[in-house]
């Protein structure tokens, strides 16, 4: 019994819907991971000790444990304490927090690398610590680390396949459903890989556009 890609076109619609959800999850979790990454970075650097240490512990925990476990914990575990999230929300939160931990590290390094003179100039004008951080330091730090954040977004896209295990009907799960009906794993996993590759190309194109615009504002 050889390979037969003839079965794939019949499922292209289902795979496309799955791919669409993969894009949605990636965009939502990515945006969440960057916003939360900035907050963790700022909280970890400037926060009151009561904020700083929990944030650091949290970042350390989310970087040091498997994403799969985190997804199980959020989706299956939280139910026990009365937090019953649907699979999609749990997936976005899990992916978002996991990558927020990585983004926080990158953004912290960016913040530390911003010239001291920038803070001094802001404070000299009368801006508060918070105003200086939020309007002067963080925008420059984020701009400087866009390439590294971009790499994390690409990793996030690929790791989004993991949310299939908690039952989110994204691209990987769509392929698995097709396989369960046709018993053609190679064809459908291959087709899914092609979809991921195309989404990845689009993401990289978008990232390099953003990078170019950031570069112009230097």
């Amino acid at each position: 019994m050889g390979l037969d890609f003839g079965v794939v076109p019949g499922y292209l619609g289902a795979l496309s819907v799955g791919a669409g959800w993969t894009v949605v999850i990636t965009v939502l979790a990515g945006a969440f991971s960057i916003v939360a990454g900035v907050l963790f970075a700022v909280g970890g650097l400037y926060g009151h000790p009561l904020i700083r240490y929990p944030v650091k512990a949290f970042v350390w925990l989310f970087r040091g444990t498997p994403l799969l476990l985190q997804l199980f914990l959020i989706y299956f575990g939280l139910v026990e304490i009365g937090i019953d999230l649907n699979a999609f929300v749990a997936g976005v939160i899990g992916l978002g927090l996991h990558f927020a931990a990585y983004n926080a590290d990158i953004i912290q390094a960016g913040i530390v690398a911003v010239d001291r003179g920038q803070t001094e100039a802001g404070r000299t004008l009368g801006l508060s610590r918070y105003q200086t951080v939020s309007r002067i330091v963080v925008p420059q730090a984020v701009r400087d680390v866009v390439p590294a954040l971009g790499n994390n977004m690409i990793a996030l896209l690929k790791d989004s396949a993991l949310v299939s295990v908690i039952g989110v009907a994204e691209l990987t799960l769509s392929a698995q459903l097709a396989i369960s009906k046709t018993f053609r794993p190679f064809e459908f996993y291959f087709a899914a890989a092609v979809f991921y590759y195309v989404i990845n190309l689009c993401l990289e194109a978008a990232l390099s556009r953003i990078e170019r615009r950031m570069e112009a504002a230097r």
Partner: protein, 263 residues
């Protein structure tokens, strides 16, 4: 403010530094400096590298807090002893009245020239966009850069950057301007355009304290010169006295090195 206080503010010095001392660990960087600057007065601070000029200047707006001593801006104590929360609010208010210009400009690279100037007035004085833009235009005309209003800092020469930095400080309408070697980082041919702006500012009777290595400029523009060495004011007086007839040997030997080819 009571009537007597506001009357006193009119007559007293604009800046009054009393017995300023600063230590880093066991190293004494400032050893008891006193300085009174009248409204409209222009004071130059000169001295060898490491003598504490920057530290002293930066103590005036508390960027480098003193170990002991007092700094007053009119009737407000800049380094008032307060709890850290109260002090943060106090100093943010006080710093709005003290403009500062740095050796390395410190423009905000992610913001246009216009945004560099309008950021603080908009956030702190709650100006509308129109009012703030008007202010930016006014200050940029003053420094001759109105045609650069929508440029990014990276598109400017060093001299232009420093003039924008001066415009940014002036947009807060400060009572005093502090300059820490505003021209030291510039290519020689760009120094004069910044000096020109500072001269204009002097003519408009801005109160200024200018740390400089340019003896000629200090001599031309300033009302008074402080010579610092080893964290102390070794000698102070009118430019004529300091540059032509200093009484201290340390001043003379410093000037011999720095006035080569002048006068």
């Amino acid at each position: 403010m009571s009537t007597t206080e506001s009357e006193m503010a009119g007559n007293g010095p604009m800046i009054d530094v009393k017995n300023a001392a600063k230590r880093y660990g066991t190293v004494e960087v400032l050893r008891g400096i006193n300085l009174q600057v009248r409204k409209g007065e222009i004071v130059a601070v000169i001295g060898p590298s490491g003598s504490g000029k920057s530290t002293f200047l930066r103590a005036i707006n508390n960027l480098d807090p003193l170990s002991s001593g007092e700094v007053w801006l009119e009737d407000v104590q800049v380094n008032k002893p307060l709890t850290s929360y109260q002090y943060e609010r106090h100093i943010n208010r006080v710093r709005q009245d003290i403009g500062m210009v740095f050796q390395h400009f410190n423009l905000f690279p992610h913001l246009s020239v216009r945004q560099n100037i309008t950021l603080a007035p908009r956030m702190l004085k709650r100006l509308s966009k129109q009012e703030a833009d008007g202010l930016a235009e006014q200050q940029l005309r003053r420094v001759g850069l109105i045609d650069r209003i929508d440029f990014m800092p990276s598109q400017l020469s060093g001299g232009q950057k420093q003039r924008v930095a001066i415009a940014r400080a002036l947009a807060m309408q400060p009572k005093v301007m502090l300059f820490d070697e505003a021209t030291s980082a510039l290519d020689p041919e760009l120094v004069e355009e910044v000096n020109f702006v500072m001269r204009q500012l002097a003519e408009s009777h801005m109160t200024m304290i200018i740390v400089t290595h340019e003896m000629g400029f200090a001599q031309d523009v300033c009302d008074r010169v402080l010579f610092m060495d080893g964290g102390m004011v070794v000698e102070e007086g009118s430019p004529d006295v300091i540059f032509r007839n200093p009484s201290q040997e340390r001043t003379r030997s410093f000037l011999r090195k720095h006035l080569k080819g002048r006068n």
